[in-house]
Amino acid sequence: MAKITPLREAVASLVHDGDTVALEGFTHLIPHAAGHEIIRQGRRDLTLVRMTPDLIYDQMIGMGCARKLIFSWGGNPGVGSLHRFRDAVEQGWPHRLETEEHSHAGMANAYVAGASNLPFALLRGYTGSDLPKVNPNIRFVECPFTGEKLAAIPSVRPDVTVIHAQKADRRGNVLIWGILGVQKEAVLAAKRSIVTVEEIVDDLEAPTNACVLPTWAVSAVCHVPGGAYPSYAQGYSERDNSFYKAWDPIARSRETFQAWMQRHVLDTDDFAGFRRVLAESVKEAV
């Protein structure tokens, strides 16, 4: 049974230094609030996993939480580069960042394999690409029936997966709809999981074949309305495209980045506090 608990407690008890942590959400439902809380609590040496590391991983990498990144596309969608990610890879700031790089197909299959308790994922992939030359975790196996060569990569099995979803009921059953990404697989692949939700309701009112995570498959459910901001939750909020654009100049220099993180994340108590201070700083800028 999932424990319905404040986000601060969920992160304190479920995310440890050195853990392999996946924050998932494919443009939609990115768990920004949980990412901030991990930064606030000063977690270190994390192996971060995510198909599309974007602003939240740029922040976590820039704040020194990550030792390693396993990913398939790292950018600011619709805007350009992740400057903190690039600074870590290109200049080793704030420290060296190890990377393990895949394609989306590889990562998606690795999550499926993890959720399926298989040690590796099997796919037709990476053919003709240089990725296998730089990633020793991309290997090839032979079909025992046809002799065909297929790609094999290790399953993703995080210690903790963190996602944001629309709803939970009071028992902790979780409903997700819209762009689903790999969230279900990421939760089922993990030993522990945290789900932040827009609201907690009496009845999920889920369609018969909806994407529901039963309460007994989740460790903690945390009520964090708007917790995906600047990403969005279908039916609750819109993506704040202006924040994605605003992030580019903030993250470009180490100094502006650090000042921004100090004021908006380290010096605030929680995500509601972050949103208040952000509203103030946006007003100041105008």
């Binding site: 599309t52 790089e101 197909a105 998606a108 299959n109 053919t127 003709g128 762009i179």
Partner: protein, 264 residues
């Protein structure tokens, strides 16, 4: 390169030319940005039954404005169905059900191989690019691939620092020999013209040049000695309907998002 006399920009003719290549009824795996703009323009003009699939999960998306991200809510709300990302890559792309993969690129080489990973050495990159995303498997598994990007010597390079996604590898039958199922990139559409692979050598050849552009301009924008087709055609200018539809789409997108679609 805005072209006042013909009343369309270089980006516009590139987008319209790319869109024209998509036939009605085609099942198209769409990358965000220019590919998505061209594919949606096709859907709103000559190809109303084109099926747009985005890697975030929407199948048959019919967005009313251009998506700014690969997972915009409008894609989900207008789709025939939305499946998980693993299913998109497993059942639909790897399953062999995609007619056209529509990709952007940071760099291409003369055999239409794509780099979106690094400039410089992988372990000590000069520029760390976003990485592969869905491209390696789109490039290998879609029945054919269109690539759309602006032409410049930095983007069209003789030798890629990193092959993220396979075009024709070393050319000739190298791609087939590597066991890659799809036909590969059949067109590279740029702001200067359209390049298609030589039927035998698979070397990219300029086969269509946009009106008002000179062959010298195209050669200067290419980092290798670009082959020019003896049958070089001039790209048809965007018809008024397509141009109006594109501008209308971009105006609606700007109104909805306060930002132009397809610019990232």
């Amino acid at each position: 390169m805005s072209n006042e006399t013909l009343d369309f920009t270089a980006t516009e003719i590139m987008t319209v030319a790319a869109s024209r290549l998509l036939q009605n009824g085609t099942v198209c795996f769409v990358g965000i940005g220019l590919p998505s703009t061209a594919a949606n323009l096709a859907r709103l003009t000559h190809a109303p039954d084109v099926v747009l699939i985005y890697e975030s999960g929407p199948i048959g998306a019919k967005p009313t404005v251009l998506p700014l991200s690969i997972g915009d809510g409008d894609l989900a709300l207008t789709a025939d169905t939305v499946v998980g990302t693993p299913e998109i890559f497993r059942y639909w792309l790897q399953g062999g059900r995609i007619d056209v993969g529509f990709l952007g690129a940071a760099q291409v080489d003369r055999f239409a191989n794509i780099n979106t990973t690094v400039i410089g050495p992988y372990d000590a990159p000069k520029v760390r690019l976003p990485g592969a995303g869905g491209a390696p498997e789109i490039a290998s598994q879609a029945k054919e691939v269109f690539i759309v990007l602006k032409q410049s010597p930095k983007a069209f390079v003789a030798k890629l620092p990193f092959v993220t996604s396979a075009g024709y590898l070393d050319g000739g039958d190298a791609r087939a020999k590597a066991g890659i199922p799809g036909a590969g990139p059949t067109a590279v559409i740029t702001d200067l013209g359209i390049l298609t692979p030589d039927p035998v050598t698979k070397e990219l050849t300029l086969t269509s040049i946009h009106p008002g552009v000179t062959v010298e301009q195209v050669k200067a924008a290419t980092g290798w000695d670009l082959k020019i087709s003896p049958d070089l055609k001039t790209t048809e200018i965007p018809d008024a309907g397509a141009l109006a539809a594109l501008r209308d789409l971009q105006a609606r997108t700007a109104a909805a998002h306060g930002q132009l679609g397809g610019e990232g």
